[in-house]
Each structure stands twice: as structure tokens, then as C-alpha cells.
Symmetry: C2
Subunit: 206 residues, 2 copies
Amino acid sequence: MRSDAASNRRRILETARALFVSRGLDVPMATVARHAGVGVATLYRRFPTREALVTEVFSDEFTACAAIVDDALADDDAWRAFRRTIETVCAAQTRDREFNDALLSSLPGTAGFERERLRVEEGFAEVVRRAKAAGRLREDFDVSDLSLVFMANRGVIGDAATAPAASRRLVAHLLRSFEAGRAAPARPLPPPAPLGLGRLPRIVEG
Amino acid sequence: MRSDAASNRRRILETARALFVSRGLDVPMATVARHAGVGVATLYRRFPTREALVTEVFSDEFTACAAIVDDALADDDAWRAFRRTIETVCAAQTRDREFNDALLSSLPGTAGFERERLRVEEGFAEVVRRAKAAGRLREDFDVSDLSLVFMANRGVIGDAATAPAASRRLVAHLLRSFEAGRAAPARPLPPPAPLGLGRLPRIVEG
């Protein structure tokens, strides 16, 4: 690739990422082209579909996510695999909140994620099945509870100063709840997050 | 009060509420006056301070919130009081998300909430102390974990269609974690929330 072509490509990817994060994945291709300072034809020549562009923009994240699933499925301790899946995804959410928000708000229905989603979905379901089969995960845990955990985690990471502590604490509380058959959990909780009651939603309607 | 004065007052309160919810509690008094179609002098004559206006605008919420604390402190079953405090606040958040967002984002440092906050803060701390003294709440529960719960709950109520089920399920998971000494909780979980993996934050930055 000639160096100006490489530079064009890099600029398109950086611009597209910034736009996807700030405005969602359905930003028009023409807008991406305009912000990147290239013609629409040039953009489509490099990325024939939005799917191709999205996949390329977020390739590191796709790789990291696939790695989480692969690691979990390779672990021969089913509870550890389950626990680490939750801990790793929540820690990643905490590090990368902006992107996470963009994804959560615009993923459903966006072409280009279906294959990845299916793979993660099947991987997570298998992790849950194994942890139950090992007797370590409560039978009433539902695979949709994973989504619930990640959504809840998103709620506690709005303030960068307290996000890591808040996320770790929340995840530890939830894992205690999910674990089968332990009255007194073996693992102590991490320290409380430094949350002031100033963030307390005291106001109630109704 | 003459009827035009009463109508002015109602319009000021409705306008102020809409602005507080959409733009935060620090909207200038002059902006409130302009949107309500009254002079600044008129606004200040009725509400000499922002604190007075905020308190009046959200008086129903303040009342409801004080009632939650009073109910909890009047309950002679310490665990039920603790459980209901969490359930009631989270249900209220779910019903009134917009307001809740405004409050969470703009409360700290806003004059006019300090006295209310202090009262709720002390009431919640007492509810926690009693539940621990009764041996029903884990010793490692920290009062800041209440804030954590309400923040987490906020994360799962973004979609009105799934919010009530998601909130109930999350709260039930967390209460299981907080309850002391039960390997097999007496209360079954509510059904899983209808969460698709389309909302799953699969994307991770390394």
C-alpha cells in the first residue's frame, strides 16, 4: 500500500471510531467520508459495506472478546471460568466506558455483529451450563442474568474516580449470590467503593 | 391567592421541574423565569432562593423518600425493613427514571438537599445497623453498598419495556448476597428479565 493510501485508511478508521462512539453505529457512510476528508467512492472502495468498516474499526475489541470466551471454555474449573468471564467483561467495561456506551445503545439490529454475537452467546451459555453441571452455580441462574450483570455494572462506572472499586465490589456481591451451596463464601469482598450518599437517588415518585 | 397568581405559581413549578429534569438542578433562575413567562423579580418574590424552588418542585418526592425511611425505622423486623428499603427505592427509580437521572447527575453540591440527605443518610445507616444486629445482614455489608445498589439498578432500567423485570431480578440477586447465613435462600428469585444478548457489551479494550 502506498503511504498516502495507508494514511487515508488510518484516518478513515480513526474518524469512523470517533463517530461510532459519539453518535452510534448508524452514522451514515457519507458522514464518515466527509469527516475523514475522503470521497464517498474512496470510502466504499476500501470498505464495501458498513459491516466491513465496523468490524475493522473494532477489530481489537472483537479479538479481546473472542479471547474471553476462548479462555473460559479452555478452563477446566467451571466455576473459575464463570467467575472470570464476569470479572473480565466488567473490568473491560470499566476501562472503556465510552465505547461500551456506544455499543450498548446501538448494537441491536446492526449488521456486522450477528456472527460475533452468536459466537459469544453460545460461549457464554456453555460456560453457564458447565458451572451448573459442576454444582457451583445456582440452578436458577439464567443466561440472561449475564446481560443483567453487565448492565448493572454499567450503572456503577459513571464516575471514573470510583468506577474500578465500585465495579469490583458489585461483581463480588453478585458472584456471592450466584454461587451455589455456600453460606459463608470463601472469598472476602473487596473493600467498599468510596461512594458518598451524595450520589444517592433519594427522590422517589409515587 | 388570586387565581392568576396561582396560575403563575403552577406554571413556574411545572416549568422548573421540566428544566431541572432535562438540564440539571443548576439551571439559572433567569432561565426558569424566561421559560415560565414571568419576570425574574416575580420568580424571586415567590421563591427567594433556588433551594426553596427545588424543594417545592420536588416536594412529593421528598415526602415519599422520607416515608420510605420512616417506614423502615418503624418496622420491627430488621431484615424486612432492610429488604423493603432497597426494593422500594429501586422500584421508585424504575418508575421515574428521568427524574432519577437528573438527580444523580446534579445532586452533589446542590444547596437545598443537605438536610434531606442527612436525614435519609442517617435513616439508612440505622436500618443497616439493625439488620446486622439481628444477624440477618452480612457483617461485611457497608452502608455505601446501598448507593452501589441504586447505581447498579439505574444501569438496568434504561429500556422501559424490560426495566421492571430487570430491576426486580437484580434486587433479588443482590439481597441473596447480602443476607447472612443462608446457603439456600427461602425466597425464590423472580423470573429472569427478558434481556436479549443484543444488549450484551461484548466489546472489550485491552
